[in-house]
């Protein structure tokens, strides 16, 4: 779910309102609402604007009941309705390149991509930012749980997760509190669910202080014909709630509706943090998969943000049917819960199923086999006699408490074209270029810079984090962190697999959100390509400040435009994603942070190319090439930040046609075996890529800088520039002719820059310096343990 402004604040703003009704035995009914048209309702406290409230009254032709008001307030919230982002996100559809692979796209729980005639994969990234700041462990854990259920709802078995994370300054006390909890939460949930974690990001920047970003990606696999729909089709079919009991989790602003008893019971009414139960989710997964395979499910929807309200209205709206729900049948953790609380609860580990009456017993039997609760709570009803779509009617102990057109909640929420304005400081910021900053002047300076860079928080070794994640479970992990992309075997017989990467660079996006988004796409695309996989589809998580700030809205619009244009140029569709607004402290928004996930397909995972140089049997080993071109591009770079705490200028140029050519070379070279290693060049430049390629297997390298980069500060530029479109590869001897021929064919510039070294475990930059790998390793690995224990 998206972050909301602090949920506790709505409680503070509670008016002293004498409640005339309330209590589970005396709910506000439709009948009562019709008779008491002028009763004051706390819609503003629930986040609804005057005109929105009036619209609701218009739709219903009366005031909403308490339960209905709760439902509209959450479904029309930014998080559920996408009211500020919708007008922009449309571009993903409008600019979508044709794809015969896409079986489900935007609007579904997750995009689905066919990878051969029988198999498809589904993947999506989502945010759980704000909950993870409030309660790092549970916030992050339930973030994983939520995205896994989206994947499950498509009919897929979840097979891997990834976790792009962003925190404040590495040495800030909030980071010391939040990071260990977030990492433990992601590990705790994913490990217990048996999903390998195959990649992610750990980024530090003061911009995220107070607003850490916890995004989670999940990927799943399904037979093409097992694809599930969310439609509540077929009047007479039964609505089944499966999974955990419903409690007062994450009720948030809706607690405002708590009535007479509020004063005395205020404590119990507090919106409570959602606690994850991965064991129940594991059982839920197995039960759902068994139901799919036995063809017992007509429609299915996960319960996430907005809980039952969202699931009931979306499934009914998708089919145009109505629904009749007996709310008292919902199994409760707390018997005293009121109807609006049950409807708003965000209790985890629940799914909503639509099943045929004659199959209900079989469904309940499967649930029982797996030890999960399943309860029939309602039934699908036909459209109205008038021909209008059906209505959602919910009773609570024989009182009609909800009677609404489902689409008015699920699809027809408010849509705003919010004002946008380029941030006032952008021109000055862009003029303050990092290319003019003082540079290391001597070989010794250069070496010291390298050691400082490889140990800096963003570039250092992240095994402190990734060792807390199971990467092996399921036995199909072919590549995982610290590789450029996770590679998962999908079919054991043919070796068919997928590669996934997630990337984002908030600094680049701050300097230029349009190109920043394209750069994130390019980097993710390249990370997939270096493994030898062919990129085929995109998901994204857009983390931004408040949409009510025109500068943020402009950044958002630019980023979406950049990503949509980029995907069109690359010919790969955006299949889904998530928007997280209000990542902001006071007036200060985070750097705009589009996080882009790219999915690739690899015909045979045995062809995958790892990042690490291979150990040569003796002496000189493989030839090392740099692919792509290096320019003097230091603005927004890691070097500018680490050395000068500088952010300014414009980010590196992005040329997606060149990225595409590079990807083609890499895929073909991998397939025919020209590559022993390939590593994307991005944060920290060539220097960082070389260090990582050397340290992976403890293999040294001797590098000779090209002529035009050998004098003055040019060696520095060559090593630390962050020009896009580059990769460093190693090519076994005998393959170089064919390989460079391939590069020439695709128009990809290549530069031979050295050889791997079987003798000396050192990184040697000729004419500059030589560093033993041990010294590099020490600098690279010491940082995280020193910070986090």
């Amino acid at each position: 779910m998206t972050t909301q402004p602090d949920t506790a604040s709505s409680e503070a703003a509670l008016p002293e309102r004498a409640a005339a009704f309330g209590g589970p035995d005396d709910p506000d009914t439709v009948e009562r609402a019709g008779a008491t048209a002028d009763e004051l309702q706390p819609f503003a406290e629930l986040g609804l604007r005057d005109d929105e409230y009036e619209r609701i009254r218009g739709i219903l032709d009366r005031r909403p009941t308490q339960s209905e008001l709760a439902m509209y307030s959450i479904m029309w919230s930014e998080h559920c309705s996408y009211k500020s982002s919708k007008v922009h996100l449309r571009q993903f559809g409008e600019k979508q390149p044709p794809s015969d692979r896409m079986l489900a796209g935007i609007g579904e729980n997750a995009g689905v991509i066919k990878i051969n005639d029988e198999l498809a994969v589904t993947f999506k990234v989502e945010s759980h930012n704000h909950p993870s700041f409030v309660e790092p462990y549970q916030g992050a854990a339930t973030g994983v749980g939520g995205i896994v259920r989206d994947i499950l709802a498509m009919g897929a078995r979840p097979v891997a997760v990834m976790d792009p994370l962003r925190f404040g300054a590495a040495d800030h006390e909030d980071t010391a509190r939040v990071l260990p909890g977030v990492v433990a939460g992601i590990g705790g949930y994913g490990n217990c669910l048996g999903l390998p974690n195959v990649g992610g990001e750990v980024v530090f920047d003061p911009t995220y202080q107070g607003n850490p970003l916890v995004n989670a990606l999940c990927v799943g696999v399904l037979p093409v014909d097992r694809l599930q729909k969310k439609d509540a089709a077929g009047p007479g079919n039964i609505v089944v709630l499966m999974g955990a009991k419903t409690g007062r989790d994450g009720i948030g602003g809706v607690s405002v509706l708590a009535s007479a008893t509020f004063d005395d019971g205020s404590h119990a009414r507090r919106p409570s943090v959602q606690v994850g139960d991965p064991f129940t989710e594991k059982l839920l997964i197995e039960a759902c998969l068994e139901l799919y395979d036995a063809d017992l499910v007509v429609g299915i929807q996960d319960l996430g943000g907005a809980g039952l309200t969202c699931a009931l209205t979306e499934t009914a709206a998708a089919a145009g049917t109505g629904m009749r729900v007996w709310l008292e049948r919902v199994p409760l953790r707390e018997p005293s819960m009121e109807p609006h609380e049950i409807l708003a609860s965000e209790s985890q580990e629940r799914m909503l199923l639509i099943v045929k009456p004659e199959q209900l017993d079989a469904v309940l039997g499967v649930a029982e086999k797996w030890g999960v609760l399943a309860t029939a709570i309602g039934e699908v009803t036909p459209s109205e006699v008038s021909g209008l779509p059906g209505r959602l009617r919910i009773t609570w102990r024989d009182h009609l408490v909800v009677d609404v057109p489902p689409a008015s909640l699920a699809d027809d929420g408010p849509v705003y074209a919010r004002p946008m304005r380029e941030p006032a400081d952008l021109i000055l910021l862009q003029a303050d270029r990092a290319e003019t900053l003082p540079r290391p002047a001597t070989p010794d300076d250069l070496k010291a810079t390298l050691l400082r860079m490889v140990g800096s928080p963003n570039l250092c070794d992240k095994s402190w984090v990734t060792e807390q994640y199971d990467r092996y479970v399921l036995g199909n992990t072919v590549l995982a962190q610290p590789e450029d992309a996770g590679v998962i075997r999908v079919d054991e017989n043919s070796g068919l697999g997928v590669a996934l990467s997630v990337d984002g660079n908030g600094r680049f996006a701050r300097l230029d959100p349009y190109n920043g988004a394209k750069l994130a796409l390019a980097e993710s695309y390249r990370n997939v390509a270096v493994t030898g996989a062919k990129p085929v589809a995109v998901t994204n998580c857009l983390n931004f400040g408040s949409p009510e700030d025109p500068a943020v809205m402009w950044q958002f619009a630019e980023a979406v435009r950049g990503l949509a244009d980029g995907c069109l140029e690359l010919g790969i569709p955006v299949t889904g994603g998530n928007v997280s607004f209000y990542n902001q402290t006071g007036a200060a928004a985070i750097h705009p942070t589009p996080v882009v996930g790219v999915l690739g397909v690899i015909d045979n995972v045995a062809d995958r190319v790892p990042i690490g140089f291979a150990k040569p049997p003796t002496g000189d080993g493989d030839l090392i090439f740099l692919l792509g071109e290096t320019a003097n591009e230091l603005s927004g770079s890691e070097w500018a930040w680490v050395t000068h705490e500088h952010l300014g200028g414009v980010p590196p140029k992005v040329d997606l046609a060149k990225e595409q050519a590079l990807a083609q070379v890499l895929a073909e070279a991998a397939r025919v075996g020209h590559l022993s290693a390939a590593h994307d060049v991005s944060d920290g430049g060539l220097a960082q890529a070389l260090v990582e390629a050397c340290l992976r297997n403890g293999v040294g390298a001797r590098i000779a800088l090209p002529e035009e980069f050998s004098a003055g500060s040019m060696p520095f530029v060559y090593l630390f520039s962050e020009s896009a479109g580059r990769a460093v590869v190693s090519v076994p001897r005998g393959h170089e002719k064919a390989f460079t021929g391939l590069c020439a064919e695709q128009g990809v510039p290549w530069t031979p820059i050295g050889v791997t070294d079987g003798q000396n475990a050192a990184l040697d930059i000729r004419g500059q310096f030589s560093v033993p790998l041990e010294e590099l390793r020490e600098a690279h690995t010491a940082t995280m343990p020193a910070l986090f224990g």
Binding site: C192, K282, L283, W370, E467, Y472, R489
Partner: protein, 227 residues
């Protein structure tokens, strides 16, 4: 006829499919067993796989021990049925008192997944006879509660009688007493192992092929027994 090796699935088992794959890759027939079913379906040996049975919320292995299938496994093990417990399986075997000691929270308090060097000491058990004594092997470790503890007398007894199956090499990853990674019962038919040999059976997906040895051992053992 190839040996039939049962792999138990508890609610929350995670590496059950991987253990079954390892059995198959080694040439055995993997037979899936269900926690609620007392019947062992005539298997020749049993693997209790890794995972988080019942969420492992109370104490690892504490609840799984009471599963119906465990009654038959305990009886079988006492009568000589070879049983290998991996990670959560090891924890269950300790809880079921088929193996001494207990597995507790890692001393650094973190879950840890890394490729771990081990030394195999006891090469005379049903599950380790393919190894040479003192052979060094590399297999993945992934656990949050892998710290083996037992009282001194028990530890001495294990050491004296060659019942320490494997120890951690090049750094103790979790604070285990005497670097213990695995132990066996007196008869040598029941083995508990914290690291995951089933994840070191293919070059593509594991750090080595060293894990295969545990599975080829049982096939050898069973072939010997039936010969």
């Amino acid at each position: 006829m190839s040996a039939r090796v049962g792999v138990v699935t508890f609610p929350g088992s995670l590496d059950d499919g991987d253990a079954a794959r390892a059995v198959r890759v080694s040439g055995g027939e993997a037979v899936r067993l269900w926690h609620g079913d007392r019947d062992l379906h005539g298997v020749d040996a049993v693997v209790l796989p890794g995972g988080f049975s019942y969420g492992d919320y109370l104490r690892t292995g504490a609840i799984a021990r009471f599963a119906p299938v465990m009654e038959s496994i305990v009886d079988g093990a006492r009568a000589g049925l070879p049983v290998l417990g991996i990670c959560n399986g090891f924890q269950i075997l300790c809880e079921a008192h088929l193996l001494p000691g207990a597995l507790t929270r890692n001393s650094h308090l973190h879950f840890r997944n890394r490729d771990q060097w081990l030394r195999v000491h006891a090469s005379n058990t049903a599950w380790t006879n393919s190894f040479e004594t003192d052979q060094e092997i590399l297999v993945p470790l992934k656990s949050g509660e892998g710290r083996y503890v037992a009282d001194q007398a028990t530890l001495d007894e294990l050491a004296a009688n060659g019942r320490i199956v494997a120890t951690y090499l090049r750094g103790n990853p979790n604070g285990s007493e005497r670097d213990i990674a695995g132990v066996t019962n007196e008869a040598g038919n029941v083995v508990g192992l914290m690291p995951h040999p089933e994840h070191a059976i293919e070059a593509l997906t594991g750090p080595s092929l060293d894990g295969l040895g545990f599975f080829t051992s049982i096939l050898k053992h069973l072939a010997g027994a039936s010969a």
